[in-house]
């Protein structure tokens, strides 16, 4: 490849790639700071600086989308920009929660930060990918750091187990994707999404549809949708809580971002099965959460349920393919997904942040029973948790409700009324377990012998407060918060 053609390739790609460059720069800075005596102290400043810088560039990208870049393999539009903001927010939350989280263990925080900042690079590539290979690179860039991070509490068996489990099943998921991409390439002769859109006939051949099904399966695996959800509870529970935050909010958002890119090229007949899988996942996740006694595990199952509802939104976009409403519904699905994921990131991230914060007072604080009567000694923490759970449950005046409103709206508009009703009814179950947590915190007495959690961590308190404010703001003044995003 000559210099000129390389120059052509990268010309005008600057704004689209700027968030990635910020993060890569941050990654290098972390590594350099780590090996340079005297600079090590700077490391804690590097990660947030890089994330904020990337967020600024993402904002620029939303304001002035640059379209297809890198020879049509990466889409630098406002959708990528908005998803980028969600990823960066999730990473920042995880990073903030990880400060002091490891306590005495404090193992290799330099590596921790370096791995952590790599994950959003992968997520952004996934969200903007217009080519299956670019997506694959993103997937690996996201997954490999998370395999390591999941096992980061090396002294604890469950953490190591989580890492190993995630790795083995993740590798399985990746294999599915590669296999699928291979089959798709065999039939359609291209890996470019636009090209695949033109070669829809090829994709409906048996070989092509098997390929697409395998790709979908790998995405559903990453998103934690049934029947590929069984790794979620174990991995979420075993991983260090900040990493759970990143997986719950960031990974899920990245998988759905790419599903949204794929939706227009899927045959509309795939809409109904996807919707049914979505509602089934919703029911399964909620039923699974109902019996949990560990908060992280409970939030993991609830995360499965949320992924199910998001899949319903995707299925609405898919089933509208080829109709005259397609553009409209795709637009509605996009804003529903973005808003839902944003609200979910703050609510689930906030809730997991509180768990991580409580864990400082003993690791058994992931157990729901240890939260008994917390409202009487730490009303602020209990109130925050209540707000996050109500948002996850979709009660109005919180961001979660608006997400639910848009999600069901999209489904109804795509003529999926029965699925929407079923989905609404199964989400009643969800309140069953969210309320159980609230009951435990507020309505049961706290045993007198229990010490009052010390909770002296300004950063954790700030993050929780920020999440709570965002959850409320998304519910009450969404126009103000989201105005810049759309």
């Amino acid at each position: 490849m000559s210099f000129e053609s390389l120059q052509d390739l990268y010309l005008g790609a600057g704004p689209a790639l700027a968030p990635l460059l910020w993060l890569t720069g941050g990654l290098l800075a972390v590594l350099i700071a780590e090996i340079t005596p005297g600079l090590t102290r700077l490391r804690p400043a590097v990660v947030p600086a890089a994330l904020l810088g990337a967020a600024w560039s993402a904002g620029q990208l939303i304001a002035e989308p640059s379209g297809l870049v890198l020879g049509g393999t990466f889409m630098g539009d406002s959708q990528t920009g908005a998803f980028t903001l969600i990823f960066l927010g999730a990473t920042l939350l995880a990073w903030g929660q990880a400060r002091h989280y490891y306590g005495q263990e404090e193992p290799f925080l330099g590596e921790h930060d370096a791995l952590l900042i790599t994950a959003p690079i992968g997520m952004i590539l996934m969200a903007g990918a217009q080519d299956l290979i670019v997506f694959f690179i993103g997937l690996e860039l996201l997954s490999i750091p998370l395999y390591c991070l999941a096992a980061f509490r090396r002294t604890r068996d469950d953490s190591v187990e989580a890492g190993l489990r995630y790795f083995i099943l993740g590798a399985f998921g990746v294999t599915l994707f590669l296999m699928g991409a291979g089959l798709v390439y065999t039939t359609a002769g291209t890996l470019n999404i636009e090209g695949l859109g033109d070669a829809l006939v090829a994709l409906t051949t048996p070989l092509g549809s098997v390929g697409m099904a395998l790709i979908l399966a790998s995405l559903l695996f990453k998103a934690g949708v049934a029947p590929f959800h069984l790794w979620v509870p174990d991995v979420y529970q075993g991983s260090p809580t900040p990493i759970t935050t990143l997986m719950a909010t960031g990974t899920k958002a990245a998988a759905f971002a790419f599903l949204l890119r794929l939706a227009p090229i899927l045959p509309s007949e795939a809409g109904l099965p996807l919707g049914i899988i979505g509602v089934a996942t919703l029911a399964l996740g909620n039923l699974g959460a109902l019996v949990q006694t560990d908060l992280k595990r409970l939030l993991a199952w609830s995360g499965i349920a949320h992924a199910g509802l998001l899949l319903l939104v995707i299925s609405a976009a898919v089933s509208a393919a080829g109709t005259n409403q397609q553009a409209e519904i795709l637009n509605a699905a996009t804003s529903a997904l973005l808003l839902y994921l944003l609200a979910y990131a703050f609510a689930a991230g906030g809730a997991l942040g509180l768990v991580a914060w409580m864990e400082a007072d003993g690791e058994d604080h992931t157990q729901l029973s240890r939260w008994q009567g917390l409202g009487s000694v730490r009303p602020g923490v209990a109130a925050g948790m209540t707000l996050f759970l109500l948002s996850l449950g979709g009660i109005p005046a919180t961001g979660g409700f608006l997400g639910k409103w848009l999600a069901f709206s999209t489904a109804v508009r795509a003529d999926m009324l029965p699925l929407a009703v079923l989905g609404a009814l199964t989400s009643v179950i969800a309140l069953g377990y969210y309320l159980r947590v609230i009951i435990t915190m507020w309505m049961k007495p706290r045993p007198e012998s229990w010490a009052i959690p010390s909770m002296n961590r300004p950063l954790a308190a700030f993050l929780a407060g920020f999440c709570a404010a965002m959850v409320l703001a998304l519910g009450l003044i969404p126009g103000f918060v989201l105005g810049p995003l759309f």
């Binding site: 409209e328 637009n331 509605a332 699905a333 996009t334 804003s335 529903a336 808003l339 009487s376 109500l390 009660i395 109005p396 005046a397 409700f401 608006l402 639910k404 409103w405 848009l406 069901f408 709206s409 999209t410 109804v412 508009r413 009324l417 929407a420 009703v421 609404a424 009814l425 989400s427 009643v428 309140l431 069953g432 309320l435 609230i438 009951i439 507020w442 309505m443 003044i477 969404p478 126009g479 103000f480 989201l482 759309f486």
Partner: protein, 513 residues
Amino acid sequence: MPLLTLIVFTPLIGAILIALVPVREVRVLRGVSFGITLLTALLGFLVWQEFDPNQAAFQLTESRPWFELPGALAVNYSLGIDGISILLVSLTAFLMPLVLVSASQSITTRVREFLVWLLIMEAGMLGVFLATDIFLFYVFWEVSLVPLYFMLGIWGGERRLYATLKFFLFTLAGSLVMLVGVIALVYLSGTLDIAALTQWAGTQPLEVQGWLFAAFALAFAIKVPLLPFHTWLPDAHTEAPTAGSVILAGVLLKMGTYGLLRFGIAMFPLAALEASTLFMILGALGIIYGAFLAMAQTDVKRLIACSSVSHLGFVVLGMFALTGAGLRGSVLQMVNHGLSTGLLFLLIGMIYERRHSRELADYGGIAKVMPLFAFFFVFSVLSSVGLPGLNGFVGEWLILLGAFEASPVLTAVSVTGVIFGAVYLLRATRLMLFGEITHTENKTLSDLTPRELGVLTPICLLCLVIGVMPGPFIQRTEASLAVIEQRLDAARDQQAARVELDLPDDQKPESAR
């Protein structure tokens, strides 16, 4: 002056104030919240005065854009009041200060939280009745669920956790089905404005109206509660603290009947005509079944709770008779039930604080030691059973009159409910108040305090006023209900035309179709 915004936001701002103000003195917190509810009541009175009885459409309206999201409709913050909501808004504003005073003795732990929830609840309930944007309505509808959940769960009786979960999940199941109904309605019609939606929905064929009606009616039927969704109510009432019971009976249940009228009958008249018999049957069944349940109770609070099921059966019966008298009676009876059942719950709360028992068997003859209590109890019972001259009579009379036009048989069945009502309430009265004092603890009971008299007297006076001159109350609902009647008449014509169209078709021979 944005009167309606003021009335909704005064309690809300009060709640924030109470939550954040760094005063630990309980008396101060109570005083401030009382002041806030009193101010709200004053605003309620202003609304009552400003209200123009001759206008059928929403009045005192306010509207400003709230937010707009891509791929979704623009949502407005808009409030308004009409003949359907005026009585309920006034009732809410009137009851809350009294409820707050009544709670000053029974609630002694976590007072600040309690006051905050009470004020949020007031804002939520007023919002439900005042919202004229359906999104806003839904937001208030669910927001008003949460405070009662906490009130029940924290300050409730022994089985409170069970009751609170049951209450929340029952109502939420209905609400979520309604949510899908709301979304479908909004996307079919392309508007969120309730007045515009009502216009639009009235022009739709039965197939469209039917489904939407069903989605809404289910949510409201659970809230009312209608048979067979009533089982959460006795549990919630029994376990709730007095203030919670009064609010539940006084206002919260009315959100269900209000919804049935505003979103069921007014919005989908064709569907309401089709469903009228079903709902009248459910209402009548509720009357009888609730009365039988009440007769079997030994716990006096549970007895009143079951009587609520019966009384609300009357409201639904009258409403779905879809006649002029029935509609008027049911709207008035919503208020009456709120007043008389609220009174009964207040009284039971007062005696419970003294005696710590709600078992009928633990009482007897206390009229001798508590004459004032006995007077108010008998007064409330008489108001509840519909003694002429008191409020309950006017409502029941109109309801039965209206129901008779629609279905004499069901009316005849329902009238027995009035008799049963007298049976269980008078039996409870006799067992509690009269006869010999059999328990020595009862001999030393102290009579009502001035504070308690201050709570009960205004409600009793209002009962009397409505009983003697219901005119001003009915008159305010007149114009709006007349519009609903017109819509129903138009729908009846449409129905008749449909039948005429169908008939010849059916009679035609197979080949000619």
